[in-house]
């Protein structure tokens, strides 16, 4: 924490000094917008340990922007997405964000990935009045209109996900009667989830265990031993997908077979299948695993969102997976916001367009999208899904049944119904 604070201070100072030099010049038109082009920028891990999966998010977004550009752009302008590799290292994020602002003169930051990464730059971005749209993290730290008026999350938060899980467990007698345990990744990710459960009144766990990201390579023998020895029957897991794979494998080896419930970010089916491989016992452990989600299931190829985004992504030569899907989806939402901001595009105009029109934006999300003058929550809930024996996530519950919750406040999630609008014509804004 200390080093982080020092880093933040140091960077704020540097960026602040730079801002003083440029402040006077930014009057006439906002940076990054010409008659023919809108330049936006993102920071994301393209290389390094965190890059598997994550590197596909910006690629998926770029595929969608290329598609829009080919179809005439947005209000006559093409979108130019500048992608900077920060290797998931917050110090590098600072450098790369400075490059985006000072060299590339971006109009907006879009889809910046990683909680710690974005915390390192979010103050400065807001101080400079740069729209900071659809941060790619489930941390609820960025839903703060007073502190970060220019920052707009998209991903439904981990805290909301925990409240959804709590509600689902409570309402399902078979789960409610089980001895439940909590296994989480150390750091903000796990803490956010823990706070979500606590605020929903879920404070009594039969056992808890945690892991550090660096421990994934060693297996989870000690943690699984503790959970098993405590007699856990339902294990709620908040960790990354590679950790889920190792967890299932270790548990299968130790003949520990609880009911699993895994966070949406810890259960990307393609990555999971790659790690689990063809080991039958581990594959068996995957079947029946609960996992919340908020987009139309990727395997639902009959859905117009899924089929059209799949076409766009694959036309760009990219693999079709959750990450490219997610990237293309937020790019679609941003394009609608840019269009709504009108031909005379300004930063303030984009913020207003988001606040006024977010509820009308279409996307593959099946939960309400909330951005108003008083709330920057983004997506507000999840549906509950479950893995079938073929390794696909099946949506549970009545048609269009979802669970919604706010980031703040101590209530459980509520059951709701939400029928998303169909995509716009040809998926264009």
């Amino acid at each position: 924490m200390k080093s982080f604070a020092i880093r933040t201070v140091a960077v704020s100072t540097i960026v602040g000094l730079m801002a003083v030099g440029t402040a006077g010049a930014a009057n006439a038109a906002d940076p990054g917008v010409t008659k023919t082009q809108i330049t936006i920028g993102t920071t994301t891990p393209l290389t390094g340990p965190a890059s598997p999966g994550y590197k596909d998010v910006s690629a998926g977004a770029n595929a969608y922007f290329a598609y829009v550009n080919k179809s005439g752009g947005i209000n006559g302008r093409s979108v130019n997405l500048v992608i900077k590799d920060d290797q998931y290292n917050p110090t590098t994020t600072i450098t790369k964000t400075n490059e985006l602002i000072l060299n590339d003169k971006v109009f907006a930051i879009y889809g910046a990935l990683g909680t710690a990464n974005h915390l390192a730059v979010v103050d400065e971005i807001n101080k400079q009045g740069i729209p900071d749209v659809f941060v790619n993290t489930g941390s609820n730290a960025f839903d703060n209109v007073q502190k970060y008026p220019y920052t707009f999350p998209y991903f439904p938060s981990y805290a909301v996900e925990a409240k959804v899980m709590a509600k689902y467990i409570q309402d399902t007698p078979d789960l409610a009667s089980k001895k439940r345990c909590f296994f989480y990744q150390e750091g903000e990710f796990g803490e956010n989830a823990g706070q979500g459960f606590a605020s929903a009144g879920f404070t009594t766990w039969t056992a808890q265990a945690s892991y550090l990201p660096t421990q994934i390579a060693q297996g989870f023998g000690a943690q699984v031993t503790r959970l098993k020895a405590s007699g856990c029957e339902l294990v709620v897991f908040f960790g990354v997908t590679s950790a889920t794979g190792v967890l299932l494998r270790t548990a299968a080896a130790l003949q520990f077979r609880p009911q699993w419930m895994v966070t949406s970010v810890g259960s990307e089916p393609t990555v999971l299948a790659g790690i689990v491989g063809s080991v039958p016992a581990t594959r068996a452990a995957m079947t029946g695993m609960y996992t919340p989600s908020f987009l139309v299931p990727i395997t639902d190829v009959g859905n117009p969102y899924v089929s059209q985004m799949k076409t766009v992504v694959e036309a760009a030569g990219l693999p079709w997976n959750f990450y490219t899907y997610y990237g293309a989806n937020t790019a679609y939402v941003l394009s609608q916001a840019l269009k709504a901001a009108g031909p005379n595009l300004t930063r303030k105009g984009l913020v207003k367009a988001l606040q006024d029109n977010a509820k009308n934006f279409r996307s593959a999300a099946v939960v309400p999208f909330v951005i108003t003058k008083s709330s920057h929550q983004g997506l507000t809930g999840y549906y509950m899904g479950q893995y079938d024996s073929a390794g696909a996530v099946v949506r549970l519950g009545k048609p269009n049944e979802i669970y919604v919750a706010g980031n703040a406040g101590g209530s459980l999630a509520k059951v709701a119904t939400f029928k998303p609008a169909p995509p716009t014509k040809k998926l264009l804004p």
Binding site: P52, A217, A222, V224, G245, A253, L254, I275, G277, V279
Partner: protein
């Protein structure tokens, strides 16, 4: 008590792979007097080659053999292309060069095989053994790893202490000038040291990969723990590396089991610091303190 036994056995299983990697570090040190931080990178790279062979042939054993050969070749390449040119630099120059090799290998592996983690098969079913009617966190595979480790230590100890080749290698590393005057072909001995260490590292890699998954960065954490074990063990001692490799695994398992996962690496580093403070020679070392 049941849990203690579980943490204990799980810790030994964890420790065996740390010990294997520590062995490779000690080998390079003994035969070249360089701490090779690229060791985990070499092991990762050759594990990818081995996995490719497994996927083509369907045979775990052929994968291992291909991996060992690749490990030897890669060790030789690192020696010739990187370490020999920097041999006139001071010790820190050589160490920094090994870091460069590590980063280069990780990038190269990501370019060839992508950074997606993938499963590595085991020759024996990865399932916990049943002891006194209960399943313990020690799999048949872990026992296999343990046996391989013991065989390797015996083989390497005999090679280094009982053969002329071993004597020449140690002499070349310890005092190249004197060794050369005594008729030892020093450059060849250094190359052989890198080759053997590369082969041992390759065995370690192939055995570690199935525990979680294989990706360009999976082995990074083993560098920290293997280095800890090797240093506490005295850097010179094969038995020390193995003993403290297993000890490190035990501590990590017990600390994670009884307190909190986040305390495990801290405890390992505290032990390393205490050791360097009180017994900088390392517990099993016969030599005078290293001057750093």
């Amino acid at each position: 008590m049941g849990s203690f036994l579980d943490y204990f056995l799980g810790g030994i299983a964890n420790g065996a792979v740390i010990a294997l990697m520590a062995l490779a570090l000690v080998l390079v040190w003994r035969s070249t007097r360089v701490v090779n931080f690229a060791q985990v990178g070499q092991a990762m790279f050759t594990s990818f080659i081995a996995l490719t062979a497994v996927n083509i042939t369907g045979s775990w054993l052929i994968g291992l053999i291909v991996g060992i050969i690749a490990g030897g070749i890669l060790g030789f390449i690192v020696h010739v292309l990187v370490m020999r040119p920097v041999r006139r630099a001071d010790a820190s120059g050589a160490i920094i060069a090994t870091f460069g090799v590590l980063i280069a290998l990780q990038s190269l592996a990501a370019m060839i095989w992508t950074a997606e983690p993938r499963a590595y098969p085991t020759p024996i079913e990865y399932a916990g053994l049943t002891i006194f009617g209960r399943v313990v966190p020690l799999t048949g595979y872990d026992v296999f790893v343990f046996i391989v480790m013991i065989v390797l230590v015996l083989f390497l100890t005999i090679l280094l202490t009982k053969t002329k080749l071993g004597l020449s290698m140690r002499a070349s590393a310890f005092n190249p000038e004197v060794a050369r005057l005594s008729g030892v072909r020093v450059s060849r001995m250094l190359a052989i040291g890198w080759i053997i260490a590369g082969m041992v590292g390759a065995v370690a890699g192939v055995l570690i990969a199935p525990i979680s998954s294989l990706s360009p960065n999976t082995f990074d954490i083993f560098l920290v723990f293997a280095f800890t074990a090797a240093v506490i063990g005295g850097l010179d001692s094969l038995v020390g590396a193995v003993a403290f490799g297993i000890g490190t695994g035990l501590i990590l398992s017990l600390v994670t089991g009884y307190s909190d996962a986040s305390n495990a690496p801290i405890v390992a580093l505290i032990l390393l610091a205490l050791n360097l403070w009180f017994k900088p020679d390392g517990a099993f070392s016969h030599h005078k303190a290293r001057s750093v």
